[in-house]
Symmetry: C2
Subunit: 333 residues, 2 copies
């Protein structure tokens, strides 16, 4: 087998999915009244993003059935939900920019952002309940459970800001809820819509959830070592904002009592941010945290792939989904 | 027939429903983590309120089936949704008090109020998708459609603040969406759960929606002429906040061009509020607006009762629901 040729086919498959998604999305823009409510939704939905959750939904479907265009409404609902959470999270985080553009509450106002988010959330369930499938009610139930976990994850993340210390277990639980379960659900819901057997769909969920944790760990990694400016993000933003991310939590775990006190003091100090960032990075280097995070990511990807092998996913198509997951965990942007 | 005895039975029926609701609600409080997310929900859900939408859900069920306790989860979901909208509306309106107590965002903070509201919304759909009924998916679909309308109604209401003039048609459309459709849906969903025929359930929805408009008109009336202080509301709060309610809209419709200009100027003036309120009230009196609103209310109630007569509602039980609707439209608090 010609490896390069295979890679070309795989890349093409993902590109084809993404094109289908963008075509479908552009036809689904909200043209109803009131404008105040729907314009912010069209704004955020057309502001780009990698459409990872939509691609995952189509890939979930694709493993058990051929015509993935049937899963486009579901793929749209998943992305609409994700964008709703971004709109509300950005209010809570007082974030001025997202994907290099003003956030919804900055461009419009906070009330519009709250209400447009709420109606996005309601539209998600309208789309799901319109699915013509014997699994529609199961998909609604699993989506609502996922939505609950996502809110719980965001709540833990906000609570971490006021906590002095966060344990690794708590941290991993938070990112699982806030980020990973939705990636898992995107795959699972696609599988359910394609009439996959429930245990198969569940293994696909576990595949996605564990790949999603690796994906978030990569996010933490890229914040420090990536070319974040290319996607409009501030380099080392997590350190500057004193976020309790993987690196902070791991450092706290590895340092001895005295070092831990000094590190915490440094992390929370009012020192000029350039100098503080450099000193924090030095500690991370001394502790070889890059190695720890790489190991942790690899372990989650192994677990993910083990679940994938139990998922009954079409063996002729499984390379595409493997590649997609690997590319998420190793992405550079 | 002894009229007093009948009234006693009717009152008892509503009281019995309310007791069932409160018992059920007190057993459904959220005891899961994180506290930051769920405590505000327990706070608002236990802060009283008339539970109108829950009573309506049970009454919707009761007209087609006997054991209304089967509809308690649905009644709870309807009330949970209503309270979610209150939590978010209170942020948008910067309201400090609700039912005489601090609003969620005042007692906790705005971020908690946003996120707790979001998870309430998600829990609503979880409860609906757990209903064991062949109508569960229909109920989810109708609920999501209702939720969309409620958001649209709130959006129109906010937009009215920045509009100089609002026509009666727009105003009635706004209160229909913001308030009335949820009352209609509460009844409809109860009926669907009790396996009522869809056209019957739809007539019950129309009954509830039109009674809901009358209910909201009564709200506007009570703001001016009720004993609002008893429920912790400011008397003539709508005039003080310069809200475009029924009275404002009707006055604008009835006044001639010159009077309209003066009235608008008065309504929006910086004049000491006591004097402004009195002058506005005088204009309303001169225009006999009390009569207009009473007529309008009566017309909506007539329409409501006409729909009720087509709804196939159990004739042995219909007096209870008629009384409940009439008491909403004529309530004094």
């Amino acid at each position: 087998m010609n490896f390069n040729r295979e890679l070309f086919v795989l890349n093409n498959s993902i590109a084809e999915l993404t094109t289908s998604i963008e075509d479908y999305f552009s036809n689904r823009s909200f043209d109803q009244s009131p404008d105040n409510l729907y314009e912010p939704i069209n704004y955020i939905m057309s502001s780009g993003g990698k459409r990872i959750r939509s691609v995952m939904t189509l890939l979930g479907f694709h493993g058990y059935s051929d015509d993935y265009s049937k899963a486009l409404p579901l793929a749209y609902a998943t992305e609409l939900f994700h964008n709703f959470t971004l709109v509300h999270d950005d209010i809570m985080d007082e974030a001025p920019l997202r994907r290099g553009k003003p956030t919804v509450h900055s461009k419009y106002d906070e009330n519009s952002a709250i209400l447009s988010g709420d109606v996005m959330h309601a539209h998600v369930f309208k789309i799901l309940s319109d699915l013509i499938s014997p699994s529609a009610l199961d998909i609604v139930r699993r989506f609502s459970e996922t939505a609950i976990l996502v809110c719980e994850g965001q709540s833990y993340d906000m609570a971490f800001e006021d906590k002095e210390e966060v344990g690794m277990e708590e941290y991993l639980d938070m990112i699982e809820k806030k980020t990973a379960v939705l990636i898992g659900f995107a795959l699972e819901s696609g599988a359910l819509l394609a009439d996959a057997k429930p245990p198969h769909a569940n293994h696909l969920y576990m595949f996605g959830k564990n790949a999603g944790i690796a994906f978030q760990l990569q996010d933490d990694y890229l914040d420090l070592y990536g070319e974040s400016f290319k996607v409009g993000k501030q380099k080392c933003g997590d350190i500057i904002q004193k976020k309790k991310n993987y690196f902070f939590v791991k450092a706290m775990e590895l340092l001895d009592d005295e070092e831990r006190i000094n590190f915490k003091e440094l992390y929370n100090s009012q020192m000029h941010s350039q100098e503080r960032v450099q000193r924090v990075l030095n500690i991370y280097d001394d502790l070889y945290l890059k190695n720890y995070i790489a190991e942790s990511k690899a372990a989650y990807m192994d677990l993910a792939f083990s679940h994938l092998s139990f998922s009954g996913y079409d063996s002729n198509k499984v390379d595409i989904i493997k590649k997609m997951a690997a590319s998420l965990a190793d992405r550079e942007l």
